[in-house]
């Protein structure tokens, strides 16, 4: 089931637009964003490959199970909560900024809370499903929407209005020394692999993360596109003036014969699906991490009847989103998402070190508790024959 892993990698790569990665990169375009990007590519690839490689040793186990196995209980709970916090805030930021974008371009007269209410209701509903259903949804939506997104990207790249001189001017700044913030922002594009922390529960024995080359190839492509295409359309100077950078960039394209003429709307409708997908995944992961803190809820990836606790936890996230929306405006949100991107990098680093540690311990056979799952159970939670 290695394809599910790459679905996550690819959609997070495409989602970078919605967590304001391009606008952070572009605000540093003349001082170190370009040179930070190759470093981010190397670092992101390394993180992704090493972490997923280590997880191969623990088929059918998510991160909480690993904590339980190797760490004292209090530390495991603390780490679980940290993970849950990081994931949930990611979802909240995306939900807020996306509902804002939607409100601006689709229903400008509507109260922003209505969009937020509709979208968070959908996210509560989606995130509280079981892990296997979440994966199916992921696959279905990605297969439906990614061809069109790729088509839009290539349409943008091949557009005659894309000014390659401007791109070359900015790319020439690779000689500047790299700066830190764009580096953290750029590594986000590679963060799709993080879903392995939960969805590794669904893997079977003997599972291998093959074709790891997909990560650097696709994610570098997304990174370059999301940085250089807006520059190509808006020039080296005007690009810094825009707040909703990618929406405005998509407005430079037109489908002459399309039913929807402005590519912007098609783009926004597709990204509605992707954003909901992102929030669904992050909230679901956060919810499972919270549930892993108690002993009452053993991991059950296949469970079509939704337990009540799922509803409660996801509703808490939604309430937090409303609180966040009440306190924020566009600029503050940009600051918070900047902080989140930086914090996320350090959590990734911590995770990398922990996973390497776990892999070493496993090899030596050191563990605090015996294997929590009997070996006959396979990944789908269905008893084996």
């Amino acid at each position: 089931m290695v394809r599910f892993f790459y679905y996550h990698v690819i959609y997070v790569g495409m989602m970078n637009i919605m967590v304001l990665v391009p606008s952070m990169l572009i605000s540093h375009r003349f001082n170190g964003a370009v040179s930070a990007m190759p470093i981010a590519i190397v670092s992101g690839t390394l993180f992704a490959c090493v972490t997923s490689f280590c997880f191969q040793r623990f088929p059918g186990m998510g991160l909480p199970e690993l904590y339980k196995r190797f760490l004292p209980r209090w530390l495991g709970i603390a780490l679980n909560l940290l993970g849950a916090f990081a994931w949930a805030t990611g979802g909240i930021i995306v939900l807020y900024s996306y509902s804002n974008t939607i409100g601006l371009f689709f229903n400008p007269e509507t109260s922003p809370y209505i969009n937020l209410a509709i979208m968070s209701a959908a996210c509560i509903w989606a995130a509280s499903r079981c892990s296997r259903s979440v994966q199916f949804t992921q696959e279905m939506l990605l297969i439906l929407s990614s061809p069109v997104i790729f088509w839009i990207m290539f349409k943008a790249i091949l557009s005659p209005w894309l000014d390659w001189d401007a791109i070359r001017v900015v790319a020439g700044r690779i000689t500047e020394p790299p700066s830190v913030v764009p580096f953290f922002a750029a590594t986000f594009v590679f963060s799709g692999y993080l879903n392995v922390t939960l969805f590794n529960r669904l893997t079977e024995r003997g599972h291998r993360y093959k074709h790891l080359w997909i990560i650097p190839v696709f994610c570098s492509f997304f990174l370059l596109v999301s940085f250089f295409v807006p520059i190509g359309f808006h020039g080296t100077q005007a690009v810094g003036n825009y707040l909703y950078l990618w929406s405005v960039t998509m407005d430079c394209l037109i489908m002459k014969y399309g039913f929807i003429q402005r590519v912007l709307y098609l783009f926004l409708l597709l990204y509605t699906l992707l954003s909901l997908l992102f929030v669904m995944n992050t909230w679901h992961t956060a919810m499972e991490f919270v549930k892993a803190c108690t002993r009452r809820y053993p991991p059950r990836p296949e469970q079509p009847e939704v337990p009540r606790i799922n509803w409660y936890i996801c509703t808490v996230f939604a309430v937090c989103t409303f609180g966040y929306a009440y306190m924020m405006n566009d600029l503050r949100n940009q600051m918070v998402s900047e902080l989140w991107l930086i914090g996320r990098y350090f959590i990734e680093l911590l995770l990398l070190l922990l996973v390497i540690l776990f892999a070493c311990l496993e090899r030596k056979g050191v563990r605090r508790r015996p294997d929590p799952r009997p070996p006959t159970k396979n990944a789908n939670g269905v008893p084996g024959p």
């Binding site: 939607i102 689709f106 229903n107 949804t137 709307y265």
Partner: protein
């Protein structure tokens, strides 16, 4: 015996009960002439007893002939009579003679799932004939046929479970049996009712059991390891577990050329999407986001809506109500009147409503596209469900326009992905490959 039977049945007038005397010996004899084939009764009992009576032969016949069953339990007499047996008491022993009147002797033509190039025979309302149809096509030693007996059903309809022993998943078979046991209703009249009772959740938005009248579809599913439930007296077999995609495939897809069938499948999915979302999209364009679609479209909608006195969603609800009423009317009406109803409703009313300025001309087109694309869906149960879900989209679009429609689409996909049909994923892609791989692993273990 006669007295007991009469007492139990409350002395019905349509029961023929005689004590017959052929001059040598006597025989008590009763049957329902409506339930029994009178020719069989005559040839099997009356002729040997009267014209060609030979006591030894007659006794031998009672013992050896397959049609005669020794019925020594007085409790069962009444139910046997009701199933179409003739009872006779000869020399102190009671025998039942199976002479059920068969209404059908040949397969019906397909009615609901018509096919251009495939087989034209469909199930009948006779279970034995249906089993014959399945066995003929799926002539395999591994086909299991189990009679599922239920005591608490008044109608006593026979229920059969069919599956391929090698291919079906044991857990799923067990699950199907428990679901059948749970069916509490004591009067089962049709396969659709049984399907409704067997589904886990009454409020489900999509069917998890596929009803079919085609033996070829049944056999194809048997070959895939699915389980079939058949009910006496129903022209439909129940297939389970099924996936979303099974409802949108017609048997013609297997008989037509490759590209044609692919094209038709794509056409069906597009039609399903259209019938689901078109009314909602109309409301969104008219009331929320006229700038999203091309300018010509916005202007022509604007022009045609100029005379319409009420908001878009009322217009949509009126037209949808009309078309639903029309469809419902033409199903229940006799065939000749049905086409008149369609003409009156579709042509005259639509045209007149538009000219009177009650609805816009674009809305008429939307309505007819919705209706036509709904008919493209090959499975009627499924198309009912789609008809209902359309209103969810309409409701959401009234509140939040285009974004609401997209978010609802997302929720629909989540809902579908979270559904399981008898433990198997309902809406997941590429599951076949995985299942085959899994089977290869499990097969040797089963053998051993």
């Amino acid at each position: 015996m006669l007295k007991e039977v009469k007492n139990k049945l409350g002395n019905p007038d349509d029961l023929i009960s005689e004590t017959m005397d052929n001059g040598y010996t006597k025989m008590e004899f009763c049957f329902f002439p409506g339930m029994c084939d009178i020719n069989q009764v005559k040839n099997g009992i009356l002729v040997p007893f009267s014209y060609r009576f030979d006591p030894d032969e007659f006794r031998r016949m009672l013992r050896a002939d397959l049609a005669f069953i020794h019925a020594d339990k007085p409790d069962e007499w009444a139910s046997m009579l009701l199933k179409g047996c003739a009872l006779l008491e000869y020399e102190g022993e009671v025998f039942a003679f199976g002479a059920v009147r068969r209404m059908q002797t040949k397969p019906d033509p397909t009615e609901v799932e018509a096919s251009l190039q495939g087989p034209q025979s469909a199930y009948t309302e006779d279970l034995d004939l249906n089993l014959n149809l399945v066995r003929t096509v799926y002539n395999s030693t591994t086909l299991s046929v189990e009679w599922h007996q239920k005591d608490n059903i008044a109608s006593q309809s026979r229920i059969m479970i069919l599956y391929d022993r090698e291919k079906a998943n044991r857990d799923t078979v067990k699950e199907v049996r428990t679901q059948l046991d749970k069916v509490g209703k004591n009067l089962i009249l049709g396969a659709g009712q049984l399907a409704k009772l067997m589904s886990h959740n009454r409020h489900r938005l999509f069917p998890v059991i596929l009803l079919t009248e085609r033996p070829d579809r049944t056999v194809m599913h048997l070959n895939k390891g699915k389980i079939v439930v058949m009910l006496d007296g129903s022209r439909f077999a129940l297939l389970m577990p099924v996936r979303f995609f099974d409802f949108l495939s017609a048997m013609d897809d297997y008989y037509e050329p490759f590209w044609m069938s692919r094209f038709l499948i794509v056409l069906r999915y597009i039609s399903m999407l259209l019938t689901l979302t078109l009314p909602a999209l109309y409301i969104s364009i008219v009331s929320y986001n006229p700038e999203v679609f091309r300018v010509q479209l916005a202007f022509s909608i604007d022009g045609s809506r100029a005379a319409v006195p009420y908001p878009s969603f009322i217009e949509v609800l009126i037209m949808l109500f009309m078309i639903e009423a029309l469809i419902e009317a033409s199903i229940r009406l006799p065939r000749f009147v049905g086409s008149t109803a369609a003409t009156v409703g579709g042509l005259i009313l639509g045209q007149a409503a538009q000219q009177a300025g009650l609805v816009s001309s674009i809305m008429i087109i939307v309505t007819s596209v919705v209706a036509i694309s709904n008919f493209v869906i090959p499975n009627s149960t499924f198309s009912y469900f789609i008809r209902i879900i359309k209103y969810v989209f309409v409701a959401v679009s009234i509140f939040s326009g285009l974004i609401g429609v997209v978010v609802t689409l997302f929720m629909l996909i989540v809902y579908l992905c979270n559904m399981r049909s008898f433990g198997e994923p309902y809406f997941a892609l590429f599951m076949n490959a995985k299942k085959h791989a899994g089977k290869d692993q499990t097969k040797p273990q089963k053998a051993g």
